[in-house]
């Protein structure tokens, strides 16, 4: 892997998500702690406050002697020493209680004191924490009442520890998940990168592997593969065109050269020379026509042709082209019929005219004398469909894709007239208009359909 996991987008996302999740877990745990351990602490405080209120009442009714008696009584009931009592005179000299002196510990503003005690019950040397409140009685006497906070602290510790563990595990799992997720995405991105690099290095046939899981990565891979498919087809097209140019233009150029050379040799015979020069010009014109057709296809294929898009009445375009070709068909005693429904679409009138002209040209050329050519234009929910059907020899199914390629000709000897570009232009024009071009069997003959998409109502 060329890129560190820390730099992947997925990992960064996972990390960000983890921080957010960690924050909310911390908040939740804080509330949990407050609700459990905090509740116990508050319970204890409330008991202490209640006892102070009770003892202060005792003092008001029975004086210092009565209070001391009650405290003594209570101490006797609690030999384990889980409760802390200390009553002192105003000078903090103990009167009664289970502490031998006033604890030397800081006191909070409302009188709460935390201090350490030695366990009197004999567990030698073990210190424990007491939580107490200092109350000043009316005569300046000091009253300290507290509780052994060990149990509470233990519970608090247990809760804290489990919450901390929970938090740590959450973070660890999140981090692990992030890493795993990033590694998974990194692996798949790396697969795409690897394929891309191989393609850059020249292997255009490579495709990005898909898992068949239909997830977003698969979709990305499929889209990239579709793009590669198109690029490969275009590259193939370019290769094919170059070869076509080389092969198909070489013979007319050779003929042209031969004729000019013969004309030079025939210097004595002006009539022969003129004939040869005229033949050469005709040959050059044919070559130019081929180049023009190639340029026209390129123009349609580049999509630049969309600049000429405007609303077009396809039925009018079709009728015009049919009018143009009708006498030609008649000369061959062919029947040319037209069934045209009105259809309006946005397109290039000139290119559409030429595409249809090429189709009719082909149909008339390929159909036998006395044949039949039907042009239909129908409109439906799917959009306009333009069909040109003839009863000529047709095209074998295995060649139906091939004939759309530039320079492809069914007749390998190339003895029939034509450049092998007519249907390529039709295909390019169809593609420019987002239309689909299909070639079917007309039993017998060829049926070519251009299905235009439904115009988008803006």
């Amino acid at each position: 892997m060329k890129r560190g996991i820390l730099r992947t987008t997925t990992f960064r996302l996972a990390l960000g998500y983890l921080a957010l999740f960690g924050g909310s877990v911390a908040l939740l745990f804080g509330f949990l702690y407050w609700a459990t351990a905090g509740y116990m602490a508050r319970q204890m405080d409330e008991t202490i406050v209640a006892e102070i209120t009770g003892l202060a009442e005792q003092y008001r009714q029975t004086g210092i002697q009565g209070l001391a008696a009650v405290i003594r009584q209570r101490l006797a009931r609690d030999p384990a020493g889980s409760q802390v009592y200390l009553l002192t005179n105003p000078n903090f000299i103990p009167i009664v209680g289970n502490l031998d002196r006033w604890p030397n510990a800081p006191e909070s503003l409302d009188g709460w004191i935390e201090f350490e005690l030695q366990d009197q019950a004999g567990r030698a040397g073990e210190a424990y924490l007491a939580h107490a409140r200092h109350f000043v009685l009316a005569g300046g006497f000091h009253l300290l009442i507290g509780r052994d906070a060990r149990a509470l602290q233990q519970v608090q510790r247990v809760i804290l520890r489990s919450l901390a563990w929970g938090f740590a595990i959450t973070l660890a799992l999140g981090l692990l998940g992030g890493v795993l997720m990033s590694r998974a995405s990194l692996r798949r991105i790396e697969a795409i990168n690897r394929t891309t690099r191989e393609i850059i290095e020249g292997d255009l046939a490579r495709r990005i592997p898909t898992r068949g899981s239909d997830d977003d990565f698969d979709e990305l891979a499929q889209n990239l593969n579709a793009m590669l498919e198109r690029i490969e087809a275009l590259m193939e097209g370019i290769r094919h065109v170059s070869e076509g140019v080389a092969h198909d233009l070489r013979s007319p150029l050779t003929r042209l050269r031969h004729r000019l050379e013969t004309a030079r040799m025939a210097g004595r015979d002006p009539e022969e020379q003129r004939r040869l020069i005229e033949a050469s010009i005709a040959e050059a014109d044919t070559l130019l026509a081929t180049f023009n057709a190639l340029l026209r296809i390129a123009e349609a294929e580049s999509g630049r042709g969309r600049a000429g898009f405007a609303p077009v009445d396809l039925d009018v375009v079709a009728q015009d082209v049919i009018d143009l070709y009708e006498p030609v068909a008649q000369e061959k005693k062919q029947t040319l019929t037209a069934a045209l429904q009105p259809a309006r679409l946005v397109g290039d009138r000139h290119l559409l005219s030429q595409a249809l002209a090429n189709l009719l040209d082909n149909a008339i050329k390929c159909s036998p004398d006395g044949g039949r050519i039907d042009v239909t234009l129908s409109t439906g929910d799917a959009g306009a469909r333009l069909t040109v059907a003839d009863n000529g020899p047709g095209i074998p199914p295995e060649y139906r894709g091939k004939v759309l390629e530039r320079f492809f000709r069914l007749d390998p000897s190339r003895s029939t007239p034509g450049s092998g570009l007519g249907l390529s232009l039709v295909a390019a024009v169809a593609r420019l208009h987002d239309a689909t071009l299909t070639l079917d069997d007309n039993h017998p003959g060829l049926r070519i359909t251009i299905a235009f998409p439904q115009p988008k109502s803006a």
Partner: protein
Amino acid sequence: MINATFPIASLAGRPAVGESKVQATPQAMRVLVIEDDPEVARYLVKGLKESGYVADHAATGTDGLVMAMGESYDVAIVDRMLPGLDGLVLIETLRKSGNRTPVLILSALGDVDQRVRGLRAGGDDYLAKPFAFTELLARLEALLRRGSGSRSETVLRVADLEMDLLAHSVRRGGRAIDLQPREFRLLEFLMRHAGHVVTRTMLLEGVWDYHFDPQTNVIDVHISRLRQKIDKGFDKALIHTVRGAGYSLRPTDSEPPAVVPAERRG
């Protein structure tokens, strides 16, 4: 008569014997050729001179503009891409200054889009390179006539052929001829260019508004149909085929077949 004033081109590019009355038009038409490619320019100037025009040449856009503004030309041939000043800018400048000289744009950029831009800039016709000289000449003559010919005529006449544009009717020698709408437009185009060569491309553009070459010679078939209706049954044909160029509508006895290449007759 529509056809008497202008020289008929000798399509072989050389004055033909017996054509002197046409070639010796006292005031030869002046053509300005603005073209930077010396080869093309030489070819144009030579061909034009041999067809009876006076041709001047400018090799840059700026020179061309100065010459077009300074002198009076009957027509200008302007290359689309020129050093100094772009052909389209040149034409726009010319038009803004009120100069109405007809302009034929020559360009290696042949697509419809470029054509529209050329005509929008003020050009009168557009011809893609490479072109046949006969095509250029035919278009040049059509442009020259456009200035003088009136568009508001309601009746066109060539010999005994008469076309009523309002009534949409055609008669020859008093006999009514029934034409399909497209045949009518084809004949109208030929009659408006009577006495001159009209190329197949000009017919496709002028009658069908198509700017592509159909693989089959569809125009020939249409003309032969029209011939059946116009010339059949009359001893003198009006529609003539001009070899290697196109067609011409004219009275048979008005001109010698000036269009047959000179070598053949010489």
